[in-house]
């Protein structure tokens, strides 16, 4: 059964994890994560979930103090599509062995070519309409356009390079000058194509390319992201891949990550506009209410190993793994217990994140915890702190405590079975009287 399942999953994992486009999209958005996390810190400070916080800061920083922090938040959250576009083009150029930085810049230019720049509906007192780039097209709504633009830009650039549409300068010219001239014709070709595409879209009922991509691709995919089974499926598949030794999120995020990101940013934008947030399955929800202590939500297991196991091996491993587990890292037990390919651990390992997800989903739907705000914290943020920061509610801390207790309950019988096996091993080893009796390194004859 396991062999069959592995045989079925491996080609999928292989295809997804080696697909250059999907890997570039995943990695490209990852480049933006540090900036988004820093932006989240500013967002958190300006919206810290404590009653009277804003007034308290205003008492010494002055009214409207949040505006200074919002400058950073806007430059990250509201420009997420731009960050993604640059990152994806860079990653895809890397995969295709073409000029990474030129492709990244070119991709940004092409994205801006397609972005609407005239807004006749917004006019000033003099009757002049707003002309420029609107945050509404550079943030969430532009995510899928950014992906497509980045990929197409690199493909066009690469095609032109392959056709030798390259200006070659004589030897001795500084490399930076050489590279920029080498990129001139491929960039001109790619920009011309986007120029034509932009004109074509202005003559459609959509009015521009971003509106078309949003309506045809992004909105339906986000609809999938809002459906009841979306997060459960993500968690289950991620853990299933991990069980077979394959880094699950590295595979599943190629598909799910853009949707998670878009849903998260939609909540941020809704909150910023004073509208209710509606998306449950954000990155914060996924990171902090479905898994504690790493894939398979193994924090509960590590706690049980540390305090309730009897075998020396399991207790030692639990103690050594606990500090890392608090920060979401479970490498020591993944291979040390082990969990990977261990049939005994398959049931709790696969079941726990799914049940966590369902419980958190229900808790959100009935209003026990609020929908997660747009804040994106590092996935290593410890349990309880993370719950409070991504929701601003003490109920989220209570929910995480309940989930952790449930996780411990699920893992307990399986941990116990493994513990009994290790105890037997330890007793057998102690009773053995053969040539293995002495495994001491102290009295060895060294050559």
């Amino acid at each position: 059964m396991m062999k069959k399942l592995e045989g079925w999953l491996m080609p999928i994992a292989n295809a997804l994890s080696k697909n250059k486009v999907l890997v570039s999209i995943r990695d490209g958005f990852m480049f933006a994560v540090p900036m988004i996390i820093i932006g989240s810190i500013f967002l958190l400070i300006s919206n810290f979930p404590i009653e009277g916080w804003s007034q308290f800061i205003a008492s010494f920083a002055g009214e409207g103090w949040e505006a200074n922090l919002d400058a950073v938040t806007s430059a990250t959250f509201d420009c997420y599509a731009i960050l993604g576009c640059i990152g994806i083009a860079y990653a895809y150029a890397r995969e295709n062995n073409v000029d990474k930085i030129e492709c990244a810049i070119l991709s940004l230019v092409n994205f801006l070519i397609l972005a609407p720049k005239k807004f006749p509906a917004y006019t000033n007192e003099a009757g002049k309409s707003f002309s420029g780039f609107a945050f509404s097209n550079l943030g969430t709504k532009g995510i899928f356009l950014a992906m497509i633009t980045a990929i197409c830009t690199v493909l066009l650039f690469k095609w032109a390079v392959k056709k030798h549409w390259v200006i070659k300068l004589p030897d001795g010219v500084p490399p930076a000058v050489m590279d920029s001239f080498a990129a001139l014709l491929p960039a001109a070709f790619a920009m011309f194509v986007f120029f034509v595409v932009n004109i074509i879209f202005t003559h459609t009922s959509f009015g521009n390319a971003p509106a078309f991509i949003y309506a045809v691709l992004q909105a339906p995919l986000l609809g999938v992201g809002r459906s009841a089974g979306f997060e459960v499926l993500y968690q289950f598949l991620s853990t299933l891949f991990w069980f077979f030794g394959i880094n699950g999120p590295a595979v599943t995020n190629t598909i799910f990550s853009p949707i998670h990101q878009a849903l998260t940013l939609e909540n941020y934008e809704a909150a910023a506009a004073g509208l209710p947030m509606t998306n449950i399955f954000t990155a914060g929800f996924s990171d902090f209410f479905c898994n504690f202590g790493g894939g398979g939500s193994t924090l509960g297991l590590v706690i049980m190993m540390t305090f309730f196991s009897k075998s020396k091996r399991m207790r030692t491993l639990g103690k050594l793994s606990l500090p890392a587990a608090i920060f979401g890292i479970n490498e020591p037990i993944i291979f040390g217990l082990p969990i990977v390919l261990n049939p005994l651990m398959a049931i709790p390992f696969l079941l726990t994140p799914v049940l966590n997800t369902i419980l958190a989903q229900v808790a959100t739907q009935i209003g026990f915890i609020p929908i997660t705000i747009g804040v994106q914290l590092s996935w290593t943020t410890p349990i309880f702190i993370s719950g409070f920061l991504v929701t601003g509610s003490i109920n989220a801390v209570i929910l995480q405590a309940v989930q952790l207790a449930m996780d411990m309950g699920i893992y307990y019988p399986f941990m116990k079975m493994q513990d009994i096996r290790y105890l037997e091993d330890e007793k057998n080893a102690a009773n053995k009287k053969d040539n293995l009796d002495d495994l001491s390194f102290d009295d060895l004859q060294l050559n």
Binding site: M10, G245, I246, N247, R313, E331, P338, F441, L444, N447
Partner: protein, 174 residues
């Protein structure tokens, strides 16, 4: 067939990065990651006799002592085969695997191999011509189960069907 495994502290369940200075140790039978290798070993009637391990930090500080003592312990246990790995893409542990494997080959008659992923470019380029290094995926990579099957196949050929070893080396080794 009796096997001895050479692990780092992470694979042996003694804590990896949280316990890099774990000194040389040995345990009866297979411990830690051995459990996921054992189904492949069973197919060739192989049994893990003992697991030798040490942290990569300890290895770095006491390289000569670790290699000499690992080799001497292998001599004392006299298994049919010694698996130095799986090193995954852990650079220091993979180096330890290669160095121990080389020492066992040079100082004993016991069959052995190292095992690691292709990310260990330096170790592979330095040792691949001197000793058998079996291919495997990096941590989280695709094909871990298959790589253990290949290892078992290689071990069986090494001990029982030496005429097949050249073909298998071509197929499974760097």
């Amino acid at each position: 067939m009796k096997i001895v495994l050479i692990f780092d502290s992470g694979l042996s369940g003694e804590g990896g990065k949280s316990n890099p200075n774990c000194p040389l140790g040995a345990a009866h039978g297979g411990i830690g990651t051995a459990q996921i290798m054992e189904p492949a070993f069973k197919k060739i009637n192989a049994e893990v006799q003992a697991t030798l391990f040490c942290g990569v930090g300890y290895y770095r500080e006491h390289t000569e002592e670790v290699v000499a003592k690992m080799t001497a312990m292998v001599k004392r246990l006299n298994p049919d085969f010694v698996v130095c790995g799986p090193g995954f893409n852990f650079p220091e542990y993979s180096e330890m695997c290669a160095v121990c494997c080389e020492s066992i080959l040079e100082n004993t008659e016991i069959h052995t191999c190292a095992m690691m992923s292709q990310e260990n470019v330096e170790v592979i380029s330095k040792y691949a011509k001197k000793l058998p290094i079996l291919k495997m995926p990096k941590k989280g990579g695709v094909g871990l189960g298959d790589s253990f099957e290949h290892l078992a196949e290689y071990m069986d050929a090494s001990v029982n069907h030496p005429e097949m070893i050249a073909a298998l080396s071509e197929k499974y080794c760097y």
